[in-house]
């Protein structure tokens, strides 16, 4: 029973095929916010059998756009489809004692539980790690919270905006001015990043499990995840007293440049990149000036040089300088909006967008994971669940409840 995936064998027969790295690995997802949903999405992308537990009111992503037809509807959220395709969905009210009992039964059968409740709230529900590990000693419990399970802010409330500001990330977003407020990351990117790090930790424990035997409680603090992602810049002060501020620009040639029809990012630090850039601009005379001679003097005079490069860029189109620049080995990239990303020839050539079915919306095109596995490609298993769609299946097939019992739970609004 110490094996990594002992439970994939039932009655002496292997019951799951291994088309995916996590085929047949049972995962429970439970709690508010988007980080837990993204974490479990990544696991389901690898073929894990994820049961998403929603409160009877439904997951917050159901209330968030984009909605098909732009009309808010809990079964028509594109965000919900993106986060929950391939998962099973059940509803459960864990404030009721019957609900708690069902939850514990689900926990007993799970390898991984991803949850996002404030630490005190889970204890108040009587579902803390101490309780759950009695039920399932090998459980990998992943708790994602704003500030972690310990420390003075453990019960502080925070959303992605707050975490971004409290982790140093906002201070690093170079908007060029201290006059205006520090800004947040794009949309839900911070929630998703925290979910991704949580998934890494969960898989690390799963892979270790054969040797360690036991389960674990993973304490994922969103503040710490973002600090870790920004660690080079954050430590620059601790180690070298180097202050990073949002009004300070880099001291190298390049950065954001405006073209006639939008923006590009230019990198032209190394010699080959710099000479490629000169070629792109038809070798202007000023390129032979003393200040352009080597990397160091270009860095010292970056402002002056950038001004001249910008004057050239504004007369050209972003796609043109992108392809011509890259052909000359200059890392130029256009600033794409979502439409550009969707319509990019590279997106098409790599099938980055995949079409999934949804009973209420029809066909939806959404990103597949950014990694292509040669042996275990991503596959569509089932549409994102409608609210409570798999109550019958999970509670009957997995927990062995009778139809009458399930009807009773429904009547008492437990599910």
């Amino acid at each position: 029973m110490k094996g990594l995936f002992a439970k994939s064998v039932a009655n002496g027969k292997v019951v799951v095929n291994m088309d995916s790295p996590l085929s047949g690995v049972p995962v429970l997802e439970f709690g508010p916010g988007f980080s837990g949903a993204y974490c479990a999405k990544l696991l389901s992308d690898f073929g894990a059998e994820v049961i998403k537990i929603e409160s009877p009111e439904g997951d917050p992503a159901r209330g968030r756009g984009p909605f098909a037809g732009n009309k808010p509807h809990p079964e028509k959220s594109g965000l919900f489809v993106y986060l929950n395709t391939n998962k099973y969905g059940v509803t459960l009210d864990c404030k009721k004692s019957e609900g708690k009992k069902i939850f514990k039964n689900l926990v007993q059968k799970a390898y991984i539980l991803v949850e996002t409740f404030p630490p005190s709230e889970l204890s108040a529900l009587g579902l803390s790690h101490n309780v759950l590990r009695e039920i399932n000693p090998r459980l990998i419990m992943v708790s994602i919270t704003p500030f972690g399970q310990t420390g003075p802010y453990r019960d502080y409330r925070a959303r992605a905006l707050n975490i971004c500001q409290a982790s140093g990330e906002s201070s690093l977003m170079q908007t060029g001015t201290l006059e205006r407020e520090p800004i947040k990351d794009a949309r839900l990117a911070d929630d998703f990043d925290c979910g991704q790090t949580a998934a890494v930790a969960a898989l690390g424990v799963l892979l270790s499990r054969e040797k360690t035997g036991g389960g674990a409680h993973l304490d994922i603090s969103m503040q710490e995840v973002l600090m870790s992602l920004g660690r080079v810049d954050i430590l620059r002060y601790a180690n070298e007293q180097g202050l990073m501020r949002r009004d300070l620009r880099g001291v190298v040639v390049g950065g954001l440049m405006e073209c006639s029809d939008g923006y590009i990012n230019l990198v032209a630090i190394q010699e080959n990149q710099w000479s490629g850039l000169l070629k792109l601009m038809d070798n202007p005379e000023w390129g032979r000036d003393e200040i352009c001679q080597d990397e160091m003097s270009r860095a010292w005079n970056a402002d002056e040089i950038n001004e001249k490069v910008q004057a050239w860029m504004i007369k050209h189109k972003k796609e043109e300088v992108y392809h011509r620049g890259q052909a000359l080995d200059v890392p130029i990239t256009p600033v794409y909006d979502p439409e550009d990303v969707v319509n990019s020839r590279q997106t098409a050539a790599r099938d980055f967008l995949v079409e999934v079915r949804h009973p209420e919306i029809g066909k939806v095109k959404m990103p597949q994971p950014s990694y292509r596995f040669s042996e275990t490609p991503w596959r569509f298993a089932r549409p994102a669940p409608r609210l409570g769609e798999h109550n019958q299946f999970i509670y009957r097939e997995r927990l062995g409840l009778s139809r009458e019992e399930i009807d009773g739970l429904k009547e008492r609004k437990v599910i």
Binding site: L22, A189, G204, G214, H217, E224, R231, E258, D337
Partner: protein, 410 residues
């Protein structure tokens, strides 16, 4: 308690032959090293990891190759060997290492590993169940596969930068955290492939596109386009649902408090905490929709309150009332924050050339206290040549000395 000593992560049976450099890949393999995997970083004086010599933001750095910030923050707990890949004898040694490794990682431009004779097909001949994880700017297929880029490039071409910044300003490029996010994706894919190998005995080739990794973080914006042809834009700190949702200036120099009110309940707590219970009945703010419509006005009123308080005072008042609020912390003030201190995020480690150095703890904590520690500094260049060539490959001292003299181990 004996549970406290029990290991949660134990990847000590996993060996990674790591060709990654710069920021993204090294962060990814460092996460594996934090979990106990043996990560052998393949380096050479002939082609130094540029994080040992320069930074995209700070430009060229001085001091030795073992002393730069970026290298030391992104390569903790790894081992370093030097070997010249342009020398066929170097490649032979690498192939012997492949034979005793589980995972090979790189973030070269597509085609470089093949040119070195280390493409997936070659590696498979040496070790049939090897896993090769490659990460590049655009992925290893498609018309733009040879295009190159760095973190800000990924942020620009993925759609991320377009969605960041003020609504009346330019897009905002993002650097470091984009690389490390791609690195996290690399660690995730590596672990999944390792689990699959453990279950089935099969290795595989994994191809990661950095721009796609960033696009996945704005998947909802891409779906908005495919679903409705809507092109989302940047809107500062605004959110489509939560309101108020912004950072507000406080007393002192460049101090800010961020506030994110999500529910009706929180809105009422908020108004009372500010001493403005009348806002609850104010027609301009009666519903979420009306607050959204009058958000500029609301922001002005809130700033009037915050400007008379310090960021920490504002946090305490609002948190006590049950409202999500935090100060804006930068790299100077993070180490002083009482919560960050209580969680022991900034750790002192020893370093042979720099004496003491501050490192940041791993992005997780577990039941086992050791997991929150940093066990070793980033390796000196070639620090582990003797261990790897001598102990792991069983080469004699003379042989190692000869190859060192002839600049194969260089």
């Amino acid at each position: 308690m004996d549970q406290m000593d029990q290991k949660v992560f134990d990847l000590s049976d996993i060996r990674v032959l790591d060709f990654t450099w710069a920021w993204a890949g090294p962060y990814g393999t460092m996460l594996l090293a934090f979990m106990g995997a043996e990560v052998l970083k393949v380096e050479s004086m002939a082609r130094l990891d540029h994080s040992r010599v320069r930074s995209l933001i700070a430009g060229p750095t001085y001091g030795g190759v073992n002393q730069t910030g970026p290298f030391n923050e992104l390569n903790l707990c790894k081992k370093s060997i030097t070997v010249k890949l342009s020398d066929p004898r170097g490649i032979e040694v690498i192939k012997r290492l492949v034979k005793i490794s589980d995972l090979v990682t790189n973030n070269f431009r597509p085609g470089v590993m093949e040119k070195l004779g280390l493409g997936y097909e070659e590696l498979r001949k040496i070790k049939p169940d090897i896993i090769l994880v490659s990460s590049s700017t655009c992925g290893s297929t498609g018309p733009e596969k040879d295009y190159s880029g760095y973190a800000p490039s990924f942020s620009s071409i993925s759609g991320l930068a377009h969605l960041m910044g003020f609504s009346d300003g330019p897009p905002t490029l993002v650097g470091g955290r984009v690389d490390t996010s791609v690195g996290t994706t690399m660690a995730l894919a590596s672990l999944a492939a390792l689990i699959h190998k453990k279950r089935t005995g099969k290795g595989q080739y994994v191809d990661i596109s950095s721009r796609e990794a960033m696009s996945c973080l704005i998947g909802d914006a891409l779906v908005a386009y495919t679903l409705n042809r809507d092109v989302y834009r940047r809107e500062g700190n605004r959110d489509e649902i939560f309101v108020p949702h912004n950072a507000y200036r406080c007393q002192g120099y460049d101090n800010w408090i961020s506030i994110a009110v999500g529910t009706e309940e929180e809105w009422q707590y908020f108004c009372r905490a500010l001493g403005h219970p009348e806002w609850i009945r104010d027609e301009r703010f009666l519903s979420r929709e009306s607050r959204k419509k009058n958000e500029d006005e609301l922001d002005r009123l809130i700033a009037g309150w915050t400007s008379g308080r310090t960021d920490y005072e504002a946090m305490e008042i609002l948190q006590k009332a049950g409202v999500p609020a935090t100060p804006m912390l930068d790299n100077e003030h993070l180490p002083e924050d009482p919560h960050v201190q209580a969680r022991q995020m900034f750790l002192k480690i020893s370093h042979p050339e720099l004496k003491e150095r501050i490192a940041l703890a791993p992005p997780w904590k577990t039941d086992s206290p050791g997991d929150a520690q940093i066990k070793r500094h980033a390796p000196l260049l070639g620090e582990h040549n003797d261990y790897v060539y001598g102990k792991l490959l069983g080469m004699s001292r003379e042989e190692i000395e000869k190859l060192t003299r002839e600049q194969v181990f260089y």
